[in-house]
Symmetry: C2
Subunit: 263 residues, 2 copies
């Protein structure tokens, strides 16, 4: 990670995110497989040119439209999502009026404790960082209203086994629109089968999660979170004729075109 401090390095952003993941691993926020998953993401982002492609921006705007129009929007946070984008996503939750819920694959009391504490700290910080679009008092109120769920799950996602099914009955279980960035295929499938409007962020357009979601954003999480925030300030109405397979096809074509260009 010797390059991470040098913003002129051509892969500065990628190295910075790698450092965030490594630091999160050191304080016990992540399972080992989380580091491997991050590496897969790096490879796909590399192929996509480490930029937000047009179809991903369209999908982000649709995500904003659905989250802002939802009755019970929830943003689901796992270890990698927390490590990379806890604060930007809390900012989005404040604008949307959503709750956030920590929901991890390898659920242990130790990891949950570290994650919930990290989330609380981020929540306090975000409340003090008023964006230019808002008055400080209004912003603080918006941030405080975001509930931080995950600590005392009293419900279960049907179709999943073990502790990974645990969730809040007034959080994920009650949600109508749910944003699940970097989610595994089984969990995504279970949420879709519950009839929820599932929005996924996944750099691999061929993954099970990407294919099963109602809206798939093929973009890197930090870029997505920044774009989502902006889109949520002025959301469009949800598009009832959203063609998600088309979005995946376009993303794949852009990845391929990028690879051909580099050759």
């Amino acid at each position: 990670m010797e390059h991470a401090a040098d913003p002129t390095h051509p892969r500065y952003n990628s190295l910075l995110k790698r450092k965030m993941i490594e630091d999160a691993a050191k304080i016990g926020m992540l399972a080992d497989s989380a580091l491997i998953a991050h590496g897969r993401g790096e490879a796909f982002d590399y192929l996509i040119g480490e930029r937000t492609i047009e179809s991903a921006m369209d999908a982000t705007k649709e995500a904003a439209a659905r989250l802002c129009a939802a009755e019970r929007p929830v943003i689901s946070l796992n270890g990698n999502v927390m490590a990379l984008a806890a604060k930007p996503l809390l900012r989005c939750a404040a604008v949307i009026g959503a709750d956030v819920e920590v929901n991890i694959f390898y659920r242990t009391p130790e990891r949950m404790k570290v994650l919930m504490e990290y989330l609380k700290d981020a929540h306090v910080e975000i409340a003090d960082q008023t964006p230019p679009e808002f008055d400080a008092e209004v912003w603080q109120k918006m941030v405080v209203e975001v509930r931080l769920l995950g600590n005392s799950p009293d419900g279960r996602i049907p179709g999943l086994e073990g502790p990974r099914a645990n969730c809040h009955s007034d959080g994920i279980l009650a949600s109508d629109v749910i944003l699940v960035p970097l989610e595994d295929g089984d969990r995504c499938e279970a949420l879709v089968e519950m009839g929820k409007d599932v929005i996924v962020v996944d750099l691999n357009p061929l993954s099970r999660s990407a294919k099963m979601a109602k809206v798939t954003v093929v973009d890197e999480l930090c870029r997505f979170a920044e774009n989502l925030y902006v889109s949520c300030l002025n959301p469009a109405a949800p598009n009832d004729n959203w063609d998600n397979p088309k979005i995946l096809q376009t993303a794949l074509e852009e990845i391929i075109a990028g690879a051909v260009e580099s050759a």
Copy 2:
């Protein structure tokens, strides 16, 4: 990793290798970044269809030809390489008549100790596992003759800084043909600049290592090691007109074709 024990799982081999990497991390063989690097490899192997493409097999045969014709062949082993393929590569070293040298990026006494012990154990095991092609006594002698270097480096690779430059003067430094699987770009470049015939194994045909090597095998390490062993039993003569850029181009085309097919 709940699927790793089930050989009927469609991604069994991939999950098994992920488990090997996670286990190696647990016993201190790897830096955190090694897990991330493994994930990148997983993504590229996924795109390539988790199979040995024809151009990779050609490159493997050329690697065998050069290693077997070398005066001082050396196989360089880092943490990930050890975790995934220490034994298959020791078997190759025995057939080639090569030495192996542990050469890691984040060199600490603790990691070196774990790696050298792991390597010694693998060496003893391999000596007792005579392949069908050999007589047990002949095989044992071949294996015993493979020197396990890395513990007492007395030389440095020019052009590299810090402990990562350390190497054996009668090992990597004296080698004419060197196999460096999963190697970072800086080290690969330094070895090429020393005038060595550098053979790289890298699933990303666009990586700096892949581009700089004299022979690049775009294949997963375990599949490569098995193919290399077979090729070394009957090596061809080295090809003086080897067109490595062509190999990289072909590999990229096969990755793209695979992605298009999955779309």
